[in-house]
Amino acid sequence: MRYVDEYRSRDLARALSVEIAELVDPGQVVRIMEVCGGHTHTIYRHGLEDLLPPEVELVHGPGCPVCVIPMGRVDDAIALSEQPGVTLATFGDMLRVPGGRGSLLEAKARGADVRMVYSPLDALALARKEPDRHVVFFAIGFETTAPATAVTLLRARAEKVSNFGVFCNHVTIEPPLRAILETPGLRLDGFVGPGHVSTVIGTEAYRFVPEEFRRPVVVSAFEPVDILQSIAMLLRQRREGRCEVENQYTRVVRPEGNLRALAAIDETMELRDAFEWRGLGSLPRSALKLRPAFAEWDAEARYPLPGAQIDDPKACQCGEVLTGQIKPWECGVFGTACTPERPLGTCMVSSEGACAAFYAYGRLRRPVKERVGAA
């Protein structure tokens, strides 16, 4: 059962489109950032921008977990995959992310044992099945994905699986939001908040946005009607002079989040002092590492890693795309040197990346003179 049809209703979308048009003041542009890459994907895939008045401008945010991983961490994962006896397991999208020394897929082609999994639990199962290998899971993702890694670590400990490890790159959503809100000159009037991160951390976690930065947040689900409704809710707050956190995704998100998931993360992981983000630089207390109690399963403690900081290619403007300063098509290499087949930057790798989503669904909709890559 897909449970989505009611959220793709043409009639509902049309009614919301009319409501949104009534909620803006002519000529006064409202800039709304959708934080999550999943929202970006839906917006382009369903052509939602066509249903919005010119006064509503959508700005794509940093919430694509693949996109924010810096090249140095990819190189660390490649180094891990080259250790004798190591099998490196990770999500499919991570295989294609370019590091300074190419991608994991290229490492695999050179003979490294790199495998694609759908879950860290699959990596643990692989370790049980192949006791002669040391299976390291290259963990990435926001608070949506960290619980799966946490549950896997707790199971590895309970079952005493010693040939399993985690290379932890989980990140948290609050620091990049703060960094964006503190970016000089970036005007944003509100946020469509991430849905599934909020399933874990709850809507209360965003209260700092209205309280400290006077910007409204509406936590949103991912279907077209959901996103249109969230935009309408943001505009209604503005019209009524309110500024608060609202929850559009009530069918699954609670104010306090999933306390068990938070407890599992807290038992297995702790905040790093700082973490390098693609496009945002080093952000304090913005990522997670394994707690000392889980050192036995911590690949960073077990293997020497290069740990180098590698600058993005000069032509790549992922950083500006990730912070909403430019649109994908305004990047100098979009659709030319950087395509989904041969991505230069991370935003073009994952289908959630703003550039990949725009490349797949949006680029032919722009007028020819603006169309990037047009002959």
Partner: protein, 68 residues
């Protein structure tokens, strides 16, 4: 879990519910788009047969309310 070719696994970005069709301790078998997959239900206590679960990366994150 809930893998689609056009989608990125790290985000689980669609409100796709998976219905529990088998339950064995902390392992549930769920039906998604005509397929069956196994998910861990460690984080959603009291999962019952027939529940709709929001699943991501092999685990259930939450139970969906019975609406609309």
């Amino acid at each position: 879990m809930t893998v689609r070719p056009e989608r990125c696994i790290t985000c689980a970005d669609e409100a796709v519910a998976a219905r529990v069709v088998l339950l064995d301790g902390l392992e549930a078998t769920v039906a998604v788009d005509g397929r069956r997959e196994r998910v861990a239900v460690d984080l959603v206590p009291d999962t019952r047969l027939g529940d709709l679960l929001l699943c991501h990366a092999g685990i259930a994150l939450e139970r969906l309310e019975a609406e609309p």
